[in-house]
């Protein structure tokens, strides 16, 4: 699962991941999308740009 907040500054990121992925999949420039989502600091930009969610793979295994 992707982190709820930026590790460095604590800004709420969780509500932005879906929009980011959708727009980048549609072909938009990631830098532009990050700007539009209000992510000015490079700590937040890095978190959104580089976090990977592999919970679907994990879901295949029993707890």
């Amino acid at each position: 699962m992707r982190p709820v907040r930026c590790f460095t500054c604590g800004k709420l990121l969780a509500d932005k991941y879906d929009k980011f992925e959708e727009r980048v999949k549609r072909g938009e420039d990631p830098a532009r999308v990050l700007d539009d989502l209000g992510l000015k600091r490079y700590c937040c930009r890095t978190a959104v740009l580089t976090s990977v969610d592999f919970s679907d793979e994990i879901a295949k295994f029993k707890k």
Partner: protein, 262 residues
């Protein structure tokens, strides 16, 4: 001491504090981050968790969801009469009942007091497959940023007011500094260099280095502070600063009483 608000827009605020010393400004900054109590989920009672994520992972995610903090009405758990921290004066219950398939979002959290609710309803909590259920009660309490980052109301940062001096005797208005400035805040007007927006200056001194006549001097004014406050949405940014100032005042009001008793 003077204060001038330059911007107040939603969760962001920018103000200039002048006539203070660096220790004063820093203590305001620290108090805003660490000593202003806000609401956050502090305990989770799981009834059912069929998801792929362990209880504690989900509990941690819930804790990090920023919640709105009511202006008043709640006590700190340490100051509340009930010793368990579960009464209605010091805690708020947020119930969540969900069934897959699909992602569970923060909007599914139903609070017992509507004034304490997630700042955003579109925060993904955990994904549930077909037939998987999640049932829990999350208990939110007041707390301080110094104890856990979930209780940090936002970020507060300041810098000195930049001071840029262009020596008219040495400056030949060549414009090298204008081109060198990464923020683009300089311009040449009538054979002199003018600063467009002083608050945008980061004091990087690119202008100083680019000047072949050594006509530029960059420094910071240690009595003037440009503050930027960004709230997570839990409290309005002006409230964060006001409560920080109040918290400091309370400490310095208590101190002399304790000194007398020494």
């Amino acid at each position: 001491m003077e204060i001038e608000i330059r911007k107040l827009d939603g969760n962001e605020m920018e103000f200039v504090l002048s006539g203070a010393n660096p220790a004063f400004a820093n203590s305001i900054r620290r108090a805003a981050l660490r000593d202003v109590p806000i609401m956050a989920i502090d305990e989770v009672e799981f009834k059912v968790n069929d998801s792929a994520m362990y209880d504690e992972i989900i509990a941690h995610r819930l804790a990090m969801i920023p919640l709105t903090t009511p202006a008043k009405g709640y006590q700190l758990p340490s100051e509340c009469g009930c010793r368990e921290g579960r009464c209605e004066k010091c805690s708020v219950d947020l119930e969540l009942k969900a069934e897959g398939p699909g992602m569970v979002y923060s909007e599914s959290l139903k609070p017992s007091d509507d004034e304490v609710r997630p700042v955003s309803g579109s925060i993904p909590i955990v994904k549930l497959e077909n037939g998987q259920r999640l049932e829990l009660v999350a208990i939110a309490r007041l707390g301080f940023g110094k104890d856990h980052a979930k209780w940090q109301p936002g970020i507060v940062a300041y810098k000195y007011m930049p001071v840029l001096e262009f020596d008219p005797k040495l400056c030949n208005a060549c414009g090298d500094c204008v081109k060198a400035c990464p923020k683009g805040i300089l311009e040449v007007v009538e054979k002199r260099v003018r600063v467009k927006d002083l608050t945008q200056c980061t004091m990087c001194k690119a202008c100083v280095e680019s000047c072949s006549s050594e006509a530029v001097r960059v420094s910071g004014d240690p009595s003037k502070f440009i503050f930027r406050v960004e709230s997570t949405g839990t409290l309005p940014p002006d409230q964060i600063i006001l409560r920080a100032i109040e918290s400091l005042r309370e400490k310095f009001e208590e101190f002399p009483k304790l000194v007398k008793k020494l």
